[in-house]
């Protein structure tokens, strides 16, 4: 009886996840094993063509770039969020909610518009490029736009709130008397931060890494709009296979490979939560 009630209670979320997560993922995995028709439709029967196409020699470079760009963006976001979260947690509650609002406000503007804004800021004839060139920080032929630097910068900008919010949530619950205790036991301020504060908000850091790193792996809009030919990521290749090449099975095979890739940090998070 109790078991039945538990099942009924979790049924809605179970059905939701089945319908909108599990089934689509199964479909993507299934389409990866289908043949392609010349017109772009998915054919009848089964084929390993799309999966074999994953051996394309350009993919490992793409995959490697996707992983390191995501890792760099995640690391930068966490690095910037740590002191921000620390400072926010120490504010009075009135100031805290004001600063929190400032962190959230950018969400009220459409994401694509914000990336467009960055395009203008980083434009070769924009004020930033002109300014940097005039003080010699930027060479005549150097570009701020259309490279991995632009992708990382704009991605960090985009994902920063996803770093700040979980870290702040963890820092808010942190017992700041522990920092006094560490200082009292002889630790300098920096040591106190690294060996007491950071372990103390470990759960928040893991959450931040997961919610930044995983969507970053599937990044598409940012590299498309501010990146160049040598800063494309897997997401751009999936889009290309789908929209230009009209090869849905190959797009599905790449997506499936990405999904498997995402499982790794997920498994890490679960392991971290259990420890």
């Amino acid at each position: 009886m109790k078991r039945l009630r538990e099942l009924l209670g979790t049924a809605p979320s179970f059905l939701w996840l089945t319908a909108f997560v599990l089934l689509p993922v199964i479909m993507i995995f299934a389409i990866a094993f289908k043949p392609t028709l010349p017109g772009g439709e998915v054919g009848e029967g089964w084929s390993l063509d799309a999966v074999k196409a994953l051996l394309d020699p350009s993919y490992p470079i793409l995959l490697w770039r996707t992983v390191w760009v995501s890792a760099v963006v995640t690391a930068l976001c966490v690095a910037v969020s740590l002191p921000v979260a620390y400072a926010m947690a120490r504010l009075s509650s009135a100031w805290r909610s004001r600063v929190l609002l400032l962190v959230i406000v950018p969400f009220w503007t459409n994401f694509v518009i914000r990336v467009f804004a960055w395009q203008q800021v980083l434009h070769a004839q924009g004020w930033l490029a002109d300014g940097l060139r005039s003080i010699g920080f930027l060479g005549e032929n150097d570009r701020l736009l259309g490279n991995a630097f632009a992708v990382v910068l704009v991605s960090v900008y985009t994902y920063l709130p996803f770093g700040i919010l979980p870290l702040f949530a963890a820092a808010e619950k942190f017992d700041f008397a522990l920092l006094d205790a560490a200082r009292d036991l002889g630790a300098k301020a920096f040591r106190t931060f690294t060996s007491v504060f950071i372990p103390g908000i470990r759960q928040g850091i893991i959450t931040a890494i997961v919610v930044i790193f995983i969507p970053m792996l599937g990044s598409y809009v940012v590299p498309d709009m501010v990146g160049g030919a040598d800063s494309q990521m897997i997401g751009n290749k999936i889009a290309q296979r789908n929209f230009s090449d009209r090869n849905l099975p190959q797009a599905a095979a790449l997506s499936a490979a990405l999904t498997l890739l995402v499982m790794v940090p997920m498994a890490l998070k679960r392991k971290g939560e259990r420890a």
């Binding site: 008397a177 006094d180 560490a182 200082r183 009292d184 036991l185 002889g186 630790a187 007491v196 103390g200």
Partner: protein, 378 residues
Amino acid sequence: MSGHLIFENVTRRFGSFTAVSDVTLEIRRGESFSLLGPSGCGKTTLLRMAAGFDTPDKGRILLNGKDITTLPPDKRPVNTVFQNYALFPHLSVRDNIAFGPKIARRAKAEITREVDRMLELVDLASHADKKPAQLSGGQKQRVAIARALVNKPEVLLLDEPLAALDLKLRQRLLVELDAIHDEVGITFVYVTHDQSEAMSFSDRIAVMNKGGIEQIGLPAEIYETPRSSFVAAFIGDTNFIDGRITEAIDGRFSRCEVDGLGAITIDNDKPVKPGDKVHLSIRPEKLVVSRGEPAAAPTQNAVSGIVEDVIYFGSHTRYWVRCGEWRLCAEVQHRTFLLDETPPTWGDTVWLRWQANDGFLLDQYRAEDEELLTLPEE
């Protein structure tokens, strides 16, 4: 001055609030010293300034004659036991205790040896690998003490270390703490709002009120010879009686007229002359309760009244007795089997008597301090 830890004219303000006001205090090497007072009296601020978490606006703090006023906490040979223990939740008991020695970059073998010694001292060797969350309150407390003592501080600061524990455990840890103090022999500065903790644990006590020190002395001095009504009322319970000196009997005793009670004999604890207004504090246990009128004696006072309230505590009973305009509290210790007796009860007429030198003349009286007494509602 020759003290170990010295506060010299220390003042600390937070905005318009003066937390500590011109405090001068000398704590001797090796003694266990208590800062006792109600919340907001400045005792914790004083402790935080000794630890280095706060800096005085005025005045100096000296350790071994060296000025440490602006030294950061990690540079002071002083360690703190925090109110809520502040154990590092991500570290085991062993690693919590090893935190200080590791920062000091002591040799690995030495750290292990010292931590083991500390675990032995606080009797937690079998819990060394547990995380703080797996410990009881009393065990956490002992880890906090070990974590501080392993650094061999010159002074151990304890900030209400037992406040979060229940009464029985508090009493037991107090005995343990006293034993640890005897064993390590360093200076302990103990902050508490609980007078019984301070009385039982300390060599000397400073009673604080509103940022200042009301009185410093041995526990018995503080209790028996309170300088102010605040000290008298904060440490235990007392009866305040005010009157006017009418005549000097001899160098030691005077007659004092108390409105609504009559003339009593008092001990001249301070120089008084006829006409002076005086405030007397008499502890409840100094008042002897009897049914019959006691025989007159030259330096003894006796008044009669009606029992208005009786509160039984097991080892003793408290009587509130209406004597004219006064309501006096008397405490009777039960030295014999109580059920064989018929002690006075509500409405009974009883006599209260006390020796003239059992009362104490206060230097300073403030009516608001009467609020601190555990007087039942009229």
